[in-house]
Structures are given as C-alpha cells and as structure tokens.
Symmetry: C2
Subunit: 377 residues, 2 copies
Amino acid sequence: MTKKIFQFDIHATDGAARQGTVKTAHGDIRTPAFMPVGTVGTVKGMTPEAVRETGADIILGNTYHLMLRPGSERVKKLGGLHKFMNWQRPILTDSGGFQVMSLNELRKIDENGVTFKSHIDGKRFELTPERSMEIQNDLDATITMAFDECTPFPADHKTAADSMRMSMRWAKRSRDAFEHRDGYGLFGIVQGSIYEDLRHESIEALTDIGFEGYAIGGLAVGEGQENMFKALEFTTPNMPADKPRYLMGVGKPDDLVGGVMRGVDMFDCVLPTRSGRNAQGFTRLGTVNMRNARHQEDPRPLDEKCGCPACRSYSRAYLHHLFKAKEILGSVLLTWHNIQYYQDLMAGMRAAIRDGEMADFALAFHTAQEQGDIEPI
Amino acid sequence: MTKKIFQFDIHATDGAARQGTVKTAHGDIRTPAFMPVGTVGTVKGMTPEAVRETGADIILGNTYHLMLRPGSERVKKLGGLHKFMNWQRPILTDSGGFQVMSLNELRKIDENGVTFKSHIDGKRFELTPERSMEIQNDLDATITMAFDECTPFPADHKTAADSMRMSMRWAKRSRDAFEHRDGYGLFGIVQGSIYEDLRHESIEALTDIGFEGYAIGGLAVGEGQENMFKALEFTTPNMPADKPRYLMGVGKPDDLVGGVMRGVDMFDCVLPTRSGRNAQGFTRLGTVNMRNARHQEDPRPLDEKCGCPACRSYSRAYLHHLFKAKEILGSVLLTWHNIQYYQDLMAGMRAAIRDGEMADFALAFHTAQEQGDIEPI
C-alpha cells in the first residue's frame, strides 16, 4: 500500500509566481488555489457537487463556528467533516483564533489561550493551541492551522512584536499537540503586522519549528492593498520555497492576481459566496450589481464567456427578477457563478505560469476589469 | 410536419382511478400528475434541472404574482415563461382569480372582473376573463385556466349559486378570448362549493362551452378532507371521462391518494416546497420535523429508500444541523426531497393503476403513514 505523504511539488515558476500541486490524504490541490469558505459545514448556497463542478480542489471550514454548532465531538462521531458535509476532497480548517477574536465580544486572552462565551447559548468555551489541534483533529481537517493571535491593525511595533511572539510560542505548542497522520499537514502562520523585521523574525521562529506549509496572517485587516502587497514583497521571499504559502482571508480578484505574482499559492475568502447572496456578481469585466434596474429586460447572460449554469441558462433579466423577488435561486445561481469565476481565474493563472506568461495574464486581467461592465442595450 | 395536438389518452383505469398521458406542445404529462408550484418563475429553492430529475413533467406558475413582477409583457418580450425560467416542458398557469381574492385586500369584484392595487408598488391592476387570457398567453402557458371566482367557504346555497353562475359567464368569456394554438389547452373550472346540484349545474355549463380539461375549484379551502372527498364523489363522475381532471391546490399526500381514487388526474400544491423550507419532510412513514433534537446525532438518511440527493448523501444529523444554522442548503435539500417524495408517490400510483392494484397501493400507503417515523436510535 502506498503511503499518502503530504507533499508540495512545484511544476513551474514565472517570476515569483509558482504553479504546483499539494498532495494530501484526500487528494490533490492544484496551486495557485482558491478555497471557497464552508463556514459551518456548507459552502453557503452550494451543494458540494456544484462546488466541485467549478473546479475547486479544497474548501475551508471554520473551527470557531463548527465547535459551537454542531460541535467537533459530534462531527467526529458522525465520521468527520468530509463525510458530514459530503465533501470527500481536502478541507483546511482555520484555528478558531481569528474568529473568536473578531466575532466574539465575550472573550479573554492570556498566554494560555482564549476563553469565551458562545453567542448561541452563552456556554463557556476555551481555545488553546492544544484544544484547537484537538478540535481540528476531530473535524478530520486535511490541513490544520496553528493557533495564533491575528494582530489587530493598526498596531505599534511593540504591540505587534508581543502579539507575534506569543503566536510563535503558540505555534510551538500547536506543533507539539498536532497528531501526525500520513497525508495530513499543519501550517504555521507568519505574523508581525506591516513590520518587515517582525515578519522575518516570525518566519525564522516558524521554520525552526517546521511545518508542512506556511500561512501569512494579519493581512487583509484594513491595511489596504498597497500595504498588503508591500508586506507580501518582504515576506514571501523569506518563506521556505519548497512549502505552500497561504494568504489568509484574501480576497478580491485583483488581490489574488497580485498575491500570486508575489509568490502566494493558496487563498480563501467569503467574498464570492457573500457577494453572490447580495446580488454582486464578479466577471472578467468587473463586478455587476444584479439588482440594478438596467438588467430588467436584458436577455444576455451575466457573462457570455462563463460556463456556469447561471450564465449558460439564464438571462440578466431573470437573475435580476430573482433578486427583486427575494428568491433562493438568485443566491444559488449567483454564488455558483462567483465561485466559477474565482476558480476560472485561478485556472487561468496556473496556465499562465506554466506558459511563462503571468505578466501578460495580469495585464489582460487588469485591462478587462477596468473596461467595466458590458454596455447596456 | 406533425401538428401538435392537445390530447388526453387514457391507458388504464382501476375503479375511478385513471392512468393516462396529456400530450401538449411542450411535451407529455403522465397522469396522475403532481405539479410543483413555481409561483413567481421559480420552484422555490430548486433549479429546473433538479425539478425535472425528480420526475416532474409539468410545473405551475401564478398569474397574479407574475403579472405584478416581473410583468407578463416583460416575460413575453424575453421569450415566454419557459425560456425565462429555463423550463422547456409544460407549464400550467392559474388565472390569477384565486390569488387576487385570497391575497389582496385592496380589491373590488363585479360582473366585469376584479380591480386591485399591487402590494408591491400600489399600482392599479385589472383582471377580467379577457385580460387573464391575454396575460396567460403572454406567459406562453401550455395550459391556461379560465378566470373564475373561487367561492369562499362556507357559503350558503344562494351565495354559492350566484358566485358559480358568474364564474360560468366568465368561463364563456375566457373561452371566447382564448387564442387557440396547437398543443395548448384551456381548462374550465367547476365551482359550486359543497352543493351537489350546483356542481352538476357548473359541469353542464362548462361542457356546453367545451374545454380541453376540467378543473375542480373551490375545494381545499377549509371544508376538511371528508367534505372534499364527498364533493369529489358527486363531482368527478359527472365530469367528461375523456378529458383530464385537475383538483386545484391539493394537497397532502393522503389527499392525493384519495383524489386519484376518486378520478382526479392532476394536482398542484405549495405544501412540499413550503414545508421543505420549514424543515418539514414528507416520507413513506409520515412527516418528519428536521428541527427536532432527536435527529442531532442520527447518521441515517431521512428515508433510506428515497433516491433524492438529500437521502443519498446526507444524514438526518446534517439536515438537522443545516436548519439549526439557518443554512440555505437545508431548504434546498429538503425541498428536493419533498418534491421527490411527491413525484415518487404519483409514479407509484400510476404503476398501481396500470397493474389494477390501486386499492392495495392505497392500503399499503395508509399503513406505512400510520406506522409513523423510523424509531429513534
């Protein structure tokens, strides 16, 4: 029997951009990869079959949400998250740290970890590096994230340093508590806010410990795209070249293109799903608000070059009507389209890197985005 | 080129029950048939592909909702309702009469028709037999319903007689205004409340005019199943045997079985879709409330003998979780299951009639329903 090893193969590079495959116990992840977010055991509005049809290799689950409901022990009893939600391919779970700190007001942080009360029933919970590893293990995450503190932005140098150093001690405790299984991986998370010296120190601390992949945390928290790109530029070159790099919680289509050109391999964001439910469609030619009255008699698809069911079988007029009438199918179809757009964008970048044409790809991408939406009829 | 004729072929009878095929311009309808309701241009929570996968041959659209939004002229401009909503098979539209009278409080009825104000924007609308025919023609309905007044329940004999006789005058105006097209049909609607003499008078008036099918209106409005069945028993035997009979707005699974045994060929109801969104599942063994805590760790499917995606790929525990977490996928999956259950029930009855075993089928159906849900683990 072949042992399933967690492994990253790089097939091509183009500038800082890389095209590769992460091999896992649950299958391959083609990179650069975008992970749709399945917060609480479902990518909102999509069946797993539909998610897969868009070309997604991996989805993300949220430890914070899942530990509260239905509870990680229950998911374990029911055979793990893959079986529970009927997604047999790789799943990455976050550590719960970011969400407990950003979503929960009833929390207390100290060196040991975080205690908080459930917003659902007021029950008291504790999250520590050890407990986070246990929960993610119960969920059967293919990729587990180290427990960290996402340093708030802005933070002065001392605050950012103290926060990052605690995260590094938590990273060590995460590594120690993580149960090794073939084909499963643990990712460390680089912190340090927008300070170059702190990012370098963080990378050094993490590589001393050793992880199967490295994430960049603490970005996309309000610093703006320019600062984010600058931070990437002094961060990714110092990260291990032979391990996948994951930029957490990012982002808009042009963030993904800019991230890939700065050496990022993996992304996740709620934007395509949340926007889909809010009538906002992403296309090659920019974003389109389907609630706008100019669509109401437009027989054309949202994007004639898109192969998703929303664009193949329905008019802009119909999508507009569904959102005006508050019909579920509107959210379903536009979410599908947005996830398809994101996956097509990633597939386009993978091909461009293999062909050594990533710069041309990025130029064409920006030109089309700036052209704006199709002209009204 | 073969002309597409609107035609009803009866293949088998068993007692009063009939199994046949309605041939239309948009394809065949196997009867007895259940029509999922696509109120405003979508069967709520389902893609048309999913509706078809359950075995549905025909769906229903609501004239009242569609004339308000997006408007029948707009639907016509966009190629008709089939194209608009991506359902190429038969569509039956109601006349708008029932809904304007039951849903709209700002209405005025006289011999000419009904005037009312839109609940969406206050705009004034008029519905007459002639206007209803025009709207249904704009929508490109395969089966158009005559414009009628659904007599409220209870109604004394004189009120019921006056109301029915106005509906008969409206039926004649509907027939005169209906534009004949090959493969399209117009159905008259029998009224008369629970009075046998009035039902007979109504049938006579309608058959004198002549329709491609005959509906039974004014039932399932609060009279109870016993009264409904009694009314069917003195109504269907007097209806033309060679035309499809459609019992409007019915119903629960046991209403369908009882209706078929009393000679009904077609049904429609929002129950499977509305219940699906409200966590209520229909199964061979009765109805199941998926919000009930006893499902929370149950690894079994809702119905192990059901072939729908909800039962094939998910546990009761997962469906329960989706409803607790208010996830769209819960409504999507349970609606799918309910429509599948309704279509399977109709397919079972069609087979039973062909085999001359409708009485055995009904007995087995009632026994299973009374057995109640699967035992908790």
